[in-house]
């Protein structure tokens, strides 16, 4: 008998272990759900981890209001499918209330406003652990993050002074008002995620598959045409066959020319790709340490 797990089973069991650890160590966790493949994966694993009981925490979507319409349809169906409870933190509402101010100009994005809305939602809901779908292979600041990542009372990350994290012993102790971010799929790569979602036949948003869409080029990145993105006069819209490699807010998610129509095609494409999935994210391009700087402030 060969008692060896293939790497997808090994990753699955690690993630399930961590999700259960969150439920055991925290009073009031919440799972941050963006509608992208990584948060779909985390919520899918959470369903598995507590089967046949319901997952003992709700999902929280920080909604910029600038979504691909498909995202919201998918979200509502998925939440029903996995029997989860959904909470929504609205950026639009936060703008109306004056908590945050809308950016101006062609590159305006509500992506950055999400942090304040997220921190407020965590505080209001008295959540002491926010489970996220970040992976270490996505970005160089994320490559440094622990599974259990401590946040001070202002929601800030201190990357120079993280707690040691040894073996599978997780320290979720905190002072009043502090919280943790927990990343159960830290060790998954983009390819692992796709291979696993294919193996498990998880239904996915149509945006990930090649489809015809009106698009335009900005700073070398192909963007979806949307009422939420003001176009410069020289930016010409054309219809192309594209797909998303990550799904976020419309204003910062690039699309890729692709003919990958099935999940098997996507796996082929990802395996052969010479660019990272975040290569199409305009939010990472603002500076060399853009992600770290956002994370320090409490971003996802």
């Amino acid at each position: 008998m060969n008692y060896r797990l293939n790497h997808l089973r090994e990753l699955e069991s690690e993630s399930i272990f961590i999700l259960r650890e969150v439920a055991a160590q925290f009073d009031n966790p919440v799972l941050l759900f963006s509608g992208g493949k990584d948060s779909i994966l985390v919520s899918y694993l959470a369903k598995k981890a507590f089967y046949p009981a319901r997952m003992p925490f709700p999902l929280l979507h920080i909604d910029t209001g600038h979504n691909f319409t498909e995202t919201i349809d998918y979200r509502d169906r998925w939440v029903k499918d996995i029997g989860a409870r959904l909470l929504i933190g609205s950026v639009q509402e936060a703008i109306d209330r004056g908590l945050v101010t809308e950016e101006k100009g062609y590159n305006a994005s509500r992506n950055f406003l999400q942090t304040a809305v997220l921190l407020e939602a965590l505080e209001k809901g008295k959540f002491d652990a926010a489970i996220g779908g970040a992976r270490r292979d996505e970005e160089k600041a994320r490559a440094k993050e622990r599974f259990f990542s401590h946040r001070d009372e202002f929601g800030q990350w201190d990357p120079k002074n993280q707690r040691p994290e040894l073996w599978n012993l997780f320290n979720g102790r905190k002072h009043f008002g502090e919280h943790f971010r927990v990343f159960p799929i830290s060790n998954w790569t983009e390819l692992d995620v796709w291979q696993y979602l294919a193996q498990e036949h998880v239904p996915l948003p149509g945006l990930y598959f090649a489809h015809r869409r009106k698009v335009f080029f900005r700073d070398g990145i192909l963007m979806a045409d949307s009422e939420f993105i003001p176009k410069r006069p020289e930016e010409k819209v054309a219809e192309m066959t594209v797909r998303c490699r990550t799904i976020g807010d419309v204003t910062c998610t690039g699309v890729w020319e692709s003919i990958a129509a099935t999940i098997e095609d996507i796996i082929e494409e990802v395996a052969a790709s010479r660019k990272t999935e975040r290569g199409g994210r305009t939010d990472d391009k603002r500076s060399e340490t853009a992600m770290e700087d956002r994370k320090k402030d409490g971003y996802f």
Binding site: F17, A53, L166, R274
Partner: protein
Amino acid sequence: MKNLSSELLRFTTAGSVDDGKSTLIGRLLYDSKSIFEDQYEAVKSASERRGEEGVNLALLTDGLRAEREQGITIDVAYRYFATPKRKFIIADTPGHTQYTRNMVTGASTANVALVLVDARQGVVEQTRRHAIIASLLQIPHLVVCINKMDLVDYSQEKYEEIRAEFEQFASKLDVHDITFIPISALNGDNVVDRSQNTGWYEGATLLYYLEHVHIGSDHNFIYARFPVQYVIRPYNDEFHDYRGYAGRVAGGVLKKGDKVMLLPSGFSSTIEKIDTADGEIEEAFPPLAVTILLKDDLDLSRGDMIVRENNHPTVSQDIELMICWFHERPMQLHGKYEIRHTTQSVRCIVQDIQYKMDVNTLHRNQEDKMLKMNDIARISIRTTKPLFVDAYRKNRTTGSVILIDEGTNETVAAGMVI
């Protein structure tokens, strides 16, 4: 589908500051074509902005602002790559003494440690400290990469000298498999491609070694250990009386129908079912996460352990540990700490500091009772409730603990049960 059943190898870097660990990882990723174009472009333009000659491959892992400013690694970076043979998880750790705790973090789950030595400097104190830590952590394979060979004219003599020096030190450690490779992380000699400059070296390149080293298993498949992590009670009509003990198998193979013993109660029962979200399975082994249902209606909770009747861990409140101390504030003799072991968390008091280890001579210092940051020592503790422990060398999961300062909530030590 590609790579669906590939093996996973976890390895870590170790060695003193500036010995070239991050550069080596960058080189390994680059030469094995595991770097994406946009990552390479970003590192190239960052190197240019910094006025460096050539592309600084260490920037692939040194991703934090402070690391880039200071040109050192502060915290572990995890990187992933795959070849047709294996999948790899790399932990690139800092060499700086101040951040030894982060090195231990990266090394605690590794199957292989790459210990870098600067060919000009030879074995230094931090090399020894890291080698000791690797041996305490029972990392099965050490690869000593004698780096910067380009700066010593690829001298075989130099290589042999360092090799002898390291072997002499390691003979006093509990490590069994050591391999030496002369490399230049900067130029790529013997990393992925065989070097033209080291004709005298007949061994493998680093990548070849990593692809072929035998990884038996980290896990113990003999002694059944199942720490209860979480109790699943659905409270709905369909699963009305369901009471499942969720957890991850920490040792042995558990089968449906097995007679088991429960700790701490000592009661016996039988495994009625091993459940997963994908349906029932016949047997479970490490590191599977499953849910166990028992025949008898017993009340287990988090921290309890399911074991086999004829073989159980040591149940004790008095435990001997080798520890590595992490915190600026010294360990207090008779100090009280929270201790975490599997899914248990109790309090403990430090009864005795038996000896401190001198990392240069391996001398056991029994007089000095003050444990400072990065010290390695053998201590005795007493816990408020019994723990169910195995020796770390028998089982890495049931033999490891962490200590937490209850005032600051910091993790202050890693401990291995003797």
